[in-house]
């Protein structure tokens, strides 16, 4: 991979730091009066999601990270690994560990495309689409006529996620959910 010097650091650039691939969030050029210039950099560690703040002397460089983001469809899991397939027609499959899956595990649905982050051809992160349609597999019976505002109740979805839904929702209905907030949006 190429090396990038501080002047090339910008949001979204993928670099290696302390052995982990990171994505640059922000780079602030700081320079006192007539003194040495520095770059104050925020980087997201793509393995842990944690944000690091580091300072670099102007002109220092970091090795680029071979990080790719692409779409893959979820296929199935065998309890140990989760399997995804490229959507580019190659049918190439990738096995994903639970650690890389993280919170996305509760938003998995077959044949839905997820954004996969690959580092050196290994999956390190899986992001669900912003909105996903899932079936209610368990909830208290719906209250007829209660279509306006009012209370909410928990509902378990086919993916395993539990979300708050309006009282009128019934088992078997398909709902549109915002995966970023984990909130009910509407009936699908």
């Amino acid at each position: 991979m190429a090396n990038y010097s501080t002047s090339e650091f910008k949001g979204g650039l993928k670099v290696m730091l302390d052995g982990d691939p990171c994505s640059i969030v922000e780079n602030e050029f700081v320079k006192p009066g007539k003194g040495q210039a520095f770059s104050r950099v925020k980087l997201r560690n793509l393995m842990t999601g944690r944000v690091w703040e580091r300072t670099f002397k102007s002109g220092e460089s970091l090795e680029g990270a071979d990080v790719l983001e692409l779409e893959m469809e979820y296929l199935y899991n065998d309890g140990e690994m989760w399997y995804f397939m490229k959507t580019d027609g190659s049918f190439e499959q990738y096995a994903v560990e639970k650690r890389a899956l993280g919170d996305t595990e509760k938003w998995l649905k077959e044949q839905v495309a997820y954004t996969i982050t690959l580092w050196d051809d290994k999956v390190i992160n899986v992001n669900p689409p912003n909105f996903i349609e899932l079936e209610v597999v368990e909830t208290d019976p719906g209250l007829k006529g209660d279509t306006a505002q009012g209370g909410s109740k928990p509902a378990t979805l086919s993916s395993g996620a539990v979300v708050r839904v309006p009282l009128f929702i019934n088992q078997g209905e398909v709902l549109k959910i915002d995966t970023r907030s984990g909130e009910y949006v509407s009936r699908a």
Binding site: F29, A37, F38
Partner: protein
């Protein structure tokens, strides 16, 4: 690229910028300071180790020559002083390679002015008055802060005497980087930028004085009457965590100036940075006799950013570097 043709400043901001610049010119006109225009190109460049100059090849009657884009109008303006111009100011386009960020742009406007015969403290007062003249709100009182005291207050160290190894360790910890091989001034610069600067100019205008003599640049050096340390006759003005202005009791000794240019270039060689052509005409002007003067350079775009309530210098420039 679709929106890339657009200005980085709103048109209303450019109107406000023009109004403030008219106000600024009135301020100097009232005080009898002459507006001058000096070249952006020069045969000499700034030797300052931490400034990267841009150079270009020009065809002149001398043939093909390297001309340097000025990092500030200082050298030309000092030559005017030596020629008897009296007090002068300039709104000068200045260029510093590699400096791009929220507070920096490779090409920017430097407001620089010189006051022959004026005392150091009086120039600080004038600089403060100008800042107040352009700001829509009262920034609070002017406070003088000594470099040494600031380090004591924020970091519990004496920047003049702290052992180098301890300083490197402290700077490395504060910035989460390795400073083990860094010289003293680099460590101090890092601590100043990361720890002290963000706190300055809150509820008031802070003027920092008594810099270490090693950071004198083109200022005179003198012994501190209080503690006997060699300090630079230099001040920096901070407002809202932003460094706005850098002033000197100007060095007028040609031999000392030549020695400092030489020391800068030696340091450049040691660091593997390109050497800069020394401005022989400036040295000749100093040798001919430049009157004692104080001078100050103020980053106009930063002051306008604060006056207009913007978050970056790009928002007060028609086309900041990424879109130029």
């Amino acid at each position: 690229m679709e929106a890339e043709w657009r200005p980085t400043a709103e048109i209303t901001t450019l109107h406000a910028r023009a109004r403030l610049i008219a106000k600024l010119r009135a301020f100097f006109a009232e005080r009898g300071v002459l507006e001058v225009e000096t070249p952006v190109l020069g045969h000499g460049g700034s030797s300052d180790v931490h400034l990267a100059s841009l150079a270009c090849q020009a065809t002149t009657p001398e043939g093909r020559e390297t001309l340097w884009l000025q990092t500030s109008p200082e050298f030309h303006m000092k030559r005017l002083l030596a020629a008897g111009s009296g007090p002068i100011f300039q709104l000068a386009r200045s260029f510093r390679d590699g400096e791009v960020g929220r507070r920096h742009n490779i090409e920017f406007t430097m407001l620089e002015w010189y006051r022959p015969g004026m005392a150091f403290a009086a120039l600080i007062g004038e600089c403060d008055a100008l800042i107040r003249h352009l700001l829509p709100q009262d920034p609070g009182p002017l406070r003088q802060r000594r470099y040494r005291e600031l380090f004591g207050e924020h970091l519990g160290i004496d920047p003049f005497t702290e052992p180098l190894a301890d300083l490197q360790c402290l700077a490395g910890t504060q910035g989460a980087l390795d400073m083990a091989d860094s010289p003293r001034d680099d460590c101090l610069d890092l601590l100043m930028s990361l720890v002290i600067e963000p706190t300055l100019g809150r509820d008031g205008v802070d003027v920092v004085v008594d810099y270490p003599a090693s950071q004198a640049a083109l200022a005179r050096r003198r012994r501190d009457p209080q503690d006997g340390e060699w300090v630079a006759a230099r001040f920096e003005i901070y407002l809202a965590g932003l460094e706005l202005a850098n002033g000197y009791d100007e060095l007028t000794d040609a031999d000392e100036q030549r020695a400092r240019f030489g020391a800068d270039n030696a340091q450049r060689r040691a660091l593997g940075r390109p050497e800069v052509d020394i401005d022989e005409r400036l040295l000749a002007a100093l040798a001919a006799g430049m009157p004692p003067a104080c001078g100050v350079a103020l980053g106009l775009d930063r002051l306008l950013q604060l006056a207009l309530g913007k978050q970056s210098v790009a928002e007060v420039m028609a086309f900041a570097t990424p879109r130029c």
